[in-house]
């Protein structure tokens, strides 16, 4: 039977048992965050004031509303991937690590649903 090939013996022995897909998506969402986070910061600097009316009118326009929805998706996906790495590095018990990542997934989807509902409500005139 033998021990298999060299790559076969080491495959899956990393802390997460996979890696390159996570790494790539972390980079893709980072590019999204640079563009969309930059847009948010630039918008906040160039706004005349932070009154309810000006904030609401701004996010009621389709273009800012779209970018806000994209920012939520990109930032939450990136945050989920990053916090997964934190958990894998510092939570050493497999059961605790599994539980922490399960909570992380639920929190990410919960935050995303809430943020998108808020963005849609603002965009469609609440």
């Amino acid at each position: 039977m033998g021990n298999g090939t060299s790559i076969g013996r080491v495959r899956g022995l990393g802390s997460a048992h996979s890696g390159s897909h996570h790494w790539m998506v972390q980079r893709f969402t980072a590019i999204g965050n640079l563009l969309l986070g930059g847009w948010l910061m630039a918008s906040l600097v160039t706004m005349p004031n932070y009154s309810y009316v000006s904030m609401h009118d701004w996010l009621a326009h389709p273009f800012p509303a779209t970018l806000l929805g994209l920012l939520l998706a990109s930032a939450l996906w990136h945050a989920r991937l990053g916090m997964q790495v934190l958990i894998e590095d510092y939570v050493h018990t497999p059961a605790n690590s599994f539980a922490a990542i399960a909570v992380l997934n639920l929190a990410t989807f919960g935050a995303g649903a809430f943020g998108l509902v808020c963005a849609i409500r603002l965009a469609l005139g609440a």
Partner: protein
């Protein structure tokens, strides 16, 4: 050749913080992790509070604005903006390292020192633009 049951053996551990001599690359790496996870928790929570209060109407937005205007609200917002700029700057440094650039000792140290300074400058410019508006 690999012995039987290698996976059951204790895996080697790398030395930890107290053993390494501090260097700029190490500091910028730790700052990247701290600011990233700070943004993931506090940043997203604040973003959702802001959006939720806006979507809930003028009264709840006034409540958010009152907290954001207090000293502790300003500390959180300034901290979040610094975290964003710091994580973005060291993130761009990561992109450059990903393509294989900037690993020479001198340039690595130089860019590791420059990224947090750039972040502080951007944070200062951001708040100057808001306060002096």
């Amino acid at each position: 050749m690999a012995a039987n049951g290698t996976s059951a053996k204790a895996r080697p551990l790398s030395p930890h913080l107290q053993i390494w001599r501090w260097g700029p690359a190490m500091a910028v790496s730790i700052l990247h992790r701290v600011t990233g996870n700070g943004l993931a928790v506090v940043g997203i929570a604040t973003l959702l509070c802001w959006l939720g209060s806006l979507a809930s109407g003028p009264e709840s937005y006034a409540l958010f604005q009152a907290q954001a205007g207090k000293w502790y609200g300003q500390v959180v917002l300034i901290g979040l903006s610094w975290s964003f700029f710091n994580h973005a700057a060291s993130g761009i440094r990561h992109f450059l390292l990903d393509i294989g650039a900037g690993f020479e000792l001198a340039s690595n140290n130089r860019w590791s020192l420059l990224t947090p300074l750039l972040a502080i400058a951007l944070t200062a410019a951001f708040w100057a633009a808001i306060y002096l508006r």
